[in-house]
């Protein structure tokens, strides 16, 4: 991706929709692919797979913990298992199973797909909002954690995940999101994409916060602040080199995520920065459970917008200046 292209950020489809389509495409070429879903396939978008490949789809009922271990069994016996539900249900209810039947035996070809991540799901409210999922999955040794920003990234990462040698958590969202990678992009587990170059501060984000970071860069430009924007879609493992370089070259960093700020992408980046090139850091994310309301209104109310990222960037730049 050439740096400093302008981003139109045209509205695209939801990452969960891109997941459903990419899964189907992959399954047409590889009959090892199987899917487990927990009475929510119309929302996770695995129902399309179900229609086309009924024999490779396993309806698990509303029983996520069992589903995770069923999927683990399928993967252990040679299948490529996609196990899906809302992030909050499959990860919170299935955590012990992810730990002992997936992470501990170092299972490969096991992909847990959590849709409806974050607060942008809107009206259903906090019981359905997953804001701890990256903390949980990053905690599991060997797990890869991917949080794509748009449909292009999701489509590419579904393929990467399917053939990777480690278990993967793919984080998907409910609402339509703007297309960041209109002209395509390259994605690999452990990689990142520098979308905009800049020298005063670096804005790093994952998921739908990437588009907000791009908009924040425009706001900062008006103030004469040059911001670099990096999509850290690979939350685990992180692209350490790119992060270290950004910390060294810009000396001020903001990390933005639709997740609890105490336990997500930001603290992971901070670990890398403190180990490599200490810099002024600011964090944009959630500090607690949200509430019901329109998804966009919640992003406003809970401070997950370009304006919040830009404000954090100004603070980071100021701290860098005063030292």
């Amino acid at each position: 991706m050439p740096a400093n292209t302008k981003f139109a950020l045209k509205m695209g489809v939801a990452t969960r929709v891109a997941f459903g389509d990419a899964l189907l495409e992959l399954a047409r070429r590889d009959d090892r692919i199987v899917v487990c879903d927990a009475d929510i396939s119309k929302s996770t978008m695995t129902h399309k797979f179900h229609q086309e490949f009924p024999d490779r789809f396993f309806s698990c009922g509303i029983a996520e913990a069992n589903m995770v271990a069923i999927g683990a069994g399928l993967a252990a016996a040679g299948k490529i298992a996609f196990v899906s539900s809302f992030s909050c249900f499959v990860l919170n209810k299935g955590f012990e199973q992810l730990r002992v039947t997936v992470a501990y035996p170092e299972l490969k070809h096991f992909i847990v797909v959590g849709t409806h991540s974050g607060i942008s799901i809107g009206e259903d409210g906090p019981s359905q909002m997953s804001i701890e999922d990256m903390a949980l999955t990053c905690a599991l040794p060997g797990f890869r954690v991917l949080a794509p920003a748009d449909e292009v990234a999701m489509r590419a990462l579904v393929k990467e995940a399917a053939y990777h040698g480690n278990p993967v958590f793919l984080r998907a969202g409910r609402p339509k999101v703007p297309i960041v990678y209109e002209n395509g992009g390259e994605f690999s587990i452990g990689g990142s994409n520098t979308l905009i170059d800049g020298s005063d501060v670096t804005l790093m984000a994952c998921g739908l916060m990437v588009a907000e970071a791009i908009r924040a860069q425009e706001l900062l430009e008006k103030d004469g602040i040059s911001a670099r924007v990096i999509d850290l879609y690979s939350v685990k493992p992180l692209d350490r080199e790119t992060i270290a370089r950004a910390a060294e070259e810009t000396g001020a960093l903001v990390v933005a995520e639709e997740h609890l700020v105490d336990s997500g992408l930001g603290v992971r980046v901070a670990q890398v920065v403190s180990e490599t090139a200490p810099a002024a850091m600011e964090f944009v994310g959630l500090t607690g459970y949200a509430e019901s309301g329109p998804g966009g209104g919640l992003l406003d109310k809970y401070g997950l917008r370009a304006g919040n990222i830009a404000a954090a960037a100004r603070r980071a730049v100021e701290r860098k200046r005063v030292g």
Partner: protein
């Protein structure tokens, strides 16, 4: 405590609550009408006839407890609590709006009168049994009622709770399964069949009563039998119709989690006139 009502009065209340469910979900533009409408008579019978409680004194320590384990059906609970005077009626139309006390799933932070915040299925029975154990320890005679969805009881935790309840002889808890035969993706028999359901609960040591979940006198008799059953917990298998009362929602999986359009609201309200 609300005064005892006649059958006609209870049926009229049920109809009014159905109207409010349809209106509030219509106004919200999202929500779960099917499983709210299937549970109306169960809540009306409990709150107007069976449970000991006082809308003037919501935190009365000796009140009977009700837990809506299938939290997505909260419109039926909100409409009932508002009808009883616990919460404001006019706010019902602000369901799911930013800052509303009527959140998309029951949230104690916004509505302290609720006994539980629910929405992740499968946890309410354990919670209810815990409350029932506390009553026993405190020498109190209040009872705890837990409403479960049929899809919901596919969760393993429900059966862990069932085993616990029988082992510890928790006879002051009463579970109700809203057996409307439909869950989110479709019919229960196609997603993960529960049958034979009665022997399952019996095998777990529960007293089981099958009942027509829309027949108020039958529900009254069943709850009386549950209260009289000692030494083991009771579960009501309440046969219901998902979407009950609105022709185009009845037995229609689509209306699990889809709001009626303004036109559909109008038709529904005519049917519920």
């Amino acid at each position: 405590m609300p005064h005892k009502k006649s059958l006609e009065e209870l049926q009229a209340l049920a109809k009014g609550i159905r109207r409010n469910i349809v209106k509030m979900i219509g106004a919200a533009g999202s929500g779960h009408p099917g499983g709210s409408l299937s549970a109306v008579e169960i809540l009306v019978t409990l709150y107007y006839d069976v449970m000991r409680h006082d809308p003037q004194n919501p935190s009365w320590p000796d009140r009977d407890r009700f837990i809506l384990s299938k939290g997505h059906a909260c419109p039926v609970l909100y409409a009932t609590l508002a009808e009883l005077g616990y919460t404001p009626k006019d706010e019902l139309m602000r369901l799911r709006k930013l800052g509303s006390i009527y959140q998309g799933h029951p949230d104690k932070r916004f509505l302290p009168v609720l006994e539980a915040s629910t929405g992740s299925l499968g946890q309410g029975l354990s919670l209810g049994i815990g409350m029932a154990l506390a009553a026993r320890l405190d020498g109190k005679d209040y009872r705890t009622y837990v409403l479960l969805g049929d899809g919901e009881i596919q969760e393993g935790q429900v059966w862990e709770a069932a085993m616990f309840g029988a082992f510890h002889k928790v006879d002051n808890v009463c579970a109700i399964v809203d057996y409307n035969k439909i869950q989110l993706d479709g019919f229960v028999k196609d997603i993960m069949d529960l049958e034979p359901l009665v022997p399952k609960w019996q095998g777990f040591g529960w007293h089981v009563i099958e009942v027509d979940g829309h027949d108020i006198p039958a529900l009254q008799r069943a709850f009386a039998e549950a209260a009289a059953t000692k030494g083991k917990p009771t579960v009501l298998i309440a046969h219901t119709v998902k979407g009950k009362g609105v022709s185009f929602m009845e037995n229609n999986p689509k209306f699990h989690g889809v709001a009626p359009t303004p036109e559909e609201v109008e038709i529904a309200l005519k049917e519920l006139a």
